[in-house]
């Protein structure tokens, strides 16, 4: 029984990782950037939510919408201001810029909101019992929301015009441009979409963990990236799978071994998977042409 509830816990946090990982994977696929600032958007989303609820006294649904909008806009803005000028520079300069943006977001929020943690209410209180077992509503909601988003996203990427443009740009942006695809818009859209997903993740995170602070995004972001790499960068089902694997292993380690070792186990799994399958579980392997 404890085992089952730990699995469910794992699915819950795993779903949150997965939502963040989806954005990571999309952004990486399209600009080949390990976007360190992506995780910090979770923090921004959480603070916007908190601000809307407790400072402006807005309704939860409105705060959520505002949070998603702000994060999407911020994602686009960051890309335009900080990453776009470096599109033709060495990749590592881009990486350092991303680290810089991450520092900036964290420290700005410490300035504005102070380093003290803030509390947020759970929008989905209560428990339901399924087959005799008790589950928190928020757990069910979290898992359900991420499954729906994951399916919706896969359909979008496969079938819509924008989805096809995204795939084309991530395959080869020069050729995509020649085919008449607006590369800038596609990249902007990807950042907006990825950041929007992170905002959703931050809402779900706040509901389950209720406490937020300026540096909350960095470890969450890294684990989400680990999830994306584990599942296979560029693969949306991979990001989902990676997130869930990490969530479950983390929660089982916390329950049965030691909560302090959870991070080590997460990275241990990543190392083992990468050494066996360097392109991740569902990733395509790319062979350099000689």
């Amino acid at each position: 029984m404890i085992f089952l509830s730990q699995i469910i816990n794992g699915l819950q946090i795993g779903s949150i990782y997965a939502l963040v990982a989806l954005g990571y994977s999309m952004v990486y696929g399209i600009v080949k950037l390990l976007n360190f600032a992506h995780g910090d958007i979770i923090m921004v989303g959480s603070y916007v939510l908190w601000f809307g609820l407790s400072r402006l006294g807005l309704a939860p649904w409105l705060s959520v919408i505002i949070s998603i909008t702000v994060c999407s806009a911020l994602g686009m803005l960051i890309e335009k201001v900080a990453y776009k000028p470096l599109r033709n520079s060495p990749k590592i300069s881009l990486l350092i810029t991303a680290i810089g943006v991450s520092y900036l977001l964290q420290n700005l929020s410490q300035l504005i909101f102070t380093p003290n943690p803030r509390m947020l209410p759970n929008f989905f209180p209560g428990y339901v019992s399924i087959g005799g077992a008790q589950f928190a509503v928020v757990t069910i909601v979290t898992i359900a929301v991420s499954v729906v988003i994951m399916i919706g996203l896969s359909v979008m990427v496969k079938n819509t015009k924008m989805g096809k443009a995204m795939r084309a740009v991530s395959e080869n942006s020069d050729v995509a441009q020649l085919m008449g695809i607006n590369v800038n818009n596609t990249i902007s859209f990807t950042f907006a979409l990825g950041s929007g997903l992170v905002a959703v993740a931050s809402v779900l995170y706040c509901c389950s963990y209720s406490q937020i602070e300026p540096t909350m995004g960095s470890m969450l972001g890294i684990k989400a990236f680990v999830a994306a790499v584990l599942g296979g960068i560029g693969s949306l089902p991979g990001a989902m799978l990676g997130g869930i694997i990490i969530g479950i292993f983390e929660s089982l380690t916390k329950a049965y071994i030691s909560s302090q070792l959870a991070d080590a186990v997460v990275f241990g799994i990543l190392i083992i998977v990468l050494l066996i399958r360097p392109s991740g579980i569902l990733g395509k392997s790319i062979r350099e042409k000689v």
């Binding site: 810089g100 900036l104 420290n107």
Partner: protein, 343 residues
């Protein structure tokens, strides 16, 4: 000058020149401290500047020269720090014997970890290598946090304060000497060739696996030395100070200075150690400013402050130095500009 060079041979000339310059630099630093030009606080800053130089220069060996991007440098630093601290806590020898031994132990233990981690990790490339080394770094941190003899999450306290400006100066000099002589040998060229094109390097008969692990290990060992200096400077080791934030901090120095330029790494290590100090008057804004500086430098100088420029005393004296020529050109332009205005 050229006549002297001819008489004693070019290489010997360079050696003598560099040795003299090193001694002179050391004398100047000592004079500045002893005559009170640098106050106690400022002279203590020389120590973090020193170990940051070692960290940046050693990371530049892998990130800049080998062209592989690791994000776990802080892990090697912590291995060196803990190994040396546990040693000095356990034995009771005179500092002049104890500390060099501790530094040696730090370098060796970090090197062992370098080999153990490098062998599997270096099979990956690019961002995957970054993330896997980040993983190893975090695992080291978590393990240290969970071990009894390392003091666990409370850290290791009461480490003797052996680190002095002199020791830092010696270690920095040795680091620069090792990196420099390594890079100017067949081994160094092999390392560079891997950065340029791994497949062509193999085809030229270079064992790329061996040289990748070699560069990674030397880099790790030097990070261990920095860890030893750090431990015996602060006298306390907290595992949380060796997280991936520390690793990115070191990487930032290297890239900001210019990947593949030891000189750039030194400049960036000095600047980035001092920058937060200069920004003290901004108090709470300083980290925001630090982040902005970082972003702006990358946008306007994507290849770093110094690009791939390397410093050579010999070139400067003989006036062949490109950096010097550029600076001269700037002054010259200004001067001639003024004259034109005057006319």
């Amino acid at each position: 000058m050229d006549r002297i060079k001819e008489k004693i041979g070019k290489t010997r000339y360079t050696y003598i020149l560099n040795t003299l310059a090193t001694i002179l630099l050391f004398a100047v630093i000592y004079a500045l401290i002893n005559f009170g030009v640098l106050n106690r606080y400022q002279s203590l800053l020389l120590i973090p500047i020193g170990f940051n130089i070692i960290l940046a220069v050693s990371l530049n060996l892998t990130a800049g020269y080998l062209g592989q991007l690791p994000l776990g440098h802080a892990g090697f630093m912590s291995v060196g720090g803990y190994a040396s601290a546990l040693f000095t806590l356990a034995v009771d020898l005179p500092p002049a014997v104890e500390f060099p031994l501790a530094i040696l132990i730090a370098a060796l233990s970090a090197a062992v970890f370098g080999v153990l981690i490098g062998l599997p990790a270096l099979r990956l490339k690019g961002d995957y290598l970054a993330i896997i080394t980040l993983g190893f770094g975090e695992i080291i941190r978590v393990i240290i946090t969970n071990l009894k003899f390392t003091g666990g999450a409370y850290g290791l306290k009461g480490i003797e304060k052996h680190t002095t400006v002199t020791w830092v100066f010696i270690c920095v000099t040795l680091t620069l000497f090792i990196v420099q002589t390594l890079m100017e040998s067949r081994h160094g060229r092999a390392i560079l060739s891997i950065r340029e094109d791994e497949i062509a390097s193999e085809a030229s008969g270079i064992s790329t696996t061996f040289y990748k692990v070699l560069a990674f290990t030397v880099s790790a060992a030097l990070a261990g030395v920095a860890g030893a200096l750090y431990a015996h400077y602060l006298s306390i080791l907290d595992p949380n100070n060796f997280g991936f934030m520390k690793s990115t901090e070191i990487l930032v120095m290297v890239v900001l200075g210019g990947l593949g330029s030891t000189f750039g790494s030194i400049v960036a290590a000095v600047v980035l150690t001092l920058l937060p100090e200069w920004l003290r008057s901004f108090s709470e804004y300083r980290m925001v400013v630090y982040a902005l500086v970082l972003i702006l430098v990358m946008i306007y100088r994507p290849s770093g402050l110094c690009g791939k420029y390397e410093f050579s005393l010999d070139r400067i004296i003989s006036g062949e130095d490109e950096g010097l020529k550029k600076i001269k050109a700037i002054f010259h332009r200004k001067k001639s500009g003024k004259e034109e205005v005057g006319e």
